[in-house]
Symmetry: D3
Subunit: 127 residues, 6 copies
């Protein structure tokens, strides 16, 4: 129940996603101007420790990504939730709120979110 | 014009989608709590025979999936429409309403919907 | 159960919406070019009798409008459904599919859809 | 910093919204079938105390409502956050994540969210 | 055809919108933290003269607002387009692209966009 | 800075997308009725030279596709922008407006848009 930080061991499709994400971020940085660079910076800042702990902020990012149905964003926040020590029950309750708010149209993304979580738990010794 | 039920013979990409959908549903069931389980149940019930026939309900699910632009949801309802004996003209008119309501942004999904329908018709002897 | 056409007697907020809609359509027609005019024409055509009856097409338009959460579009299709002789149970099942597909975020629109239906039933002698 | 529950004193536009919401819920209940009733029930359940506290769940509901840009849903969760003892800094950080995820298109809703929060703080003796 | 800057004389509903927008921006500024303040700044910067002229950027903001169906955002960009000397034909072509991309669900917003444009032209001596 | 038209040399993933798009368009044309055919025609017309040049219209189509988060639509307009002689700075500013309007949820699509642009520049001798 304590929030023990974890190191995510990425394998299979999750690792593939993470590597491609890194490669494409380099492509963006090379070609983008000041507005885009500042946005990326702001995006990073928004999830930093504040009145709310990082863990809660990652859950907020996850539910927002689920109802907006963005697989890449969901995968990213699922990995981050894992790293921040989110428990399976906490992840599940967050996803279930997204499911109720966003409806059955979110189910394909919900499926892949649980699949990613599953892979992370099997990859990590402390999962 | 009569609604003769059909058995969908899944091949190629449609079969791949269907199998992966089944595998992931198992992943969800294993990890999900009561809210998610009840939602899945409700989702199932909503398409049952009532004042409206199942066929009409599947067309409603299809057009909702098209305007919300969810490929997996569209593929699922296209298969179900096929099973319920929907005629090509009926499917086409449903998709065209979705296209007009949802705009050109739905076209990539419309393309794949017709492709799935095409595969189903070629796979089934009674297509 | 038969599809008896009805004449919608618009009162209160529904009448207000309908009149404003008419006024604004005139504003659009005066200022719009060929693409917009053709789109309006196409929008009209999509709901005409075809392989699917007009009533079913209005239900399709309604569910698409609900999941996309457009109050004006919902009000329009609720009035049209009333005119086409849609029964309360049929309307309710259509809205419930939209609710399940689109999630709790559609509830404010669902509420107003039922309110409009209620007003139409009280306004019409044949409701 | 402790989560002291508060009683929300609704005034002005917030009270208007809340009363109309109640009136329309009655309209829905009278006309809706089993699927819709069960959905409303599920919606209620999703926010109950579990592995995550009610307060966190209301913040999740709020950020989901902001990125999906539903004023009624936002107003509802802002009132609920107030009742659950959410601090202004916590609300603000939640909204700022929604703003970054959902973009400038959420700003009109962000403005009204802060306005509602403002009214609640002025209405309540313990704000 | 030349881009003569214009002064927008706001009247009626457009003035009401603009004043409320100003009042609410003050509410946001008072309660918001660094992330939100930086976002507002970034939002302002994105529309400044660059490789693309301000006029084109306002048309980009307008079409994005139309397909995302945000009335407040549309009203804002319509006023800004007016100030930047956008011609009626240019505005109309921009809106028609939004209509085709976003579908009939954008029509209620298209109607109000033309209505706002109409009010601006009647309010200004150089309209 | 002049708008020199370019010939896009499609390679790799971009070519794959373009070919599949062509194949699927044929599938649609074979099975679709009058409404869909007219819509495709209208979609084509909306981007033709008018009061606004084709280049500006393609930028409008691109930003609309980005905020609606449709990869296929984005890829199509990026190719068309390349053909119309859009400069990297112009493309970047257009995408940055989409990013600010649509938020971080558009970032995965932004990444792929820049990647496509990159491939086009490397493929073409005049890139």
């Amino acid at each position: 129940m304590a929030d023990t930080k974890r190191t995510a061991v990425l394998t299979g499709k999750v690792k593939e996603f993470w590597d491609e994400r890194g490669r494409l971020n380099d492509v963006v940085i090379k070609q983008s101007g000041l507005t885009t660079k500042r946005f990326f910076n702001l995006d990073h800042q928004a999830y930093k420790e504040g009145a709310l702990p990082v863990k809660t902020k990652e859950l907020l990012g996850l539910v927002a990504s689920l109802v907006l149905r963005c697989d890449d964003c969901i995968s990213y926040h699922v990995v981050r939730c894992y790293e921040e020590g989110v428990e399976t029950e906490e992840l599940e309750e967050t996803l279930s709120i997204g499911l109720v708010v966003g409806g059955s149209i979110t189910i394909p993304h919900l499926r892949r979110a649980f699949d990613t979580w599953n892979e992370l738990q099997q990859g990590g010794a402390d999962g």
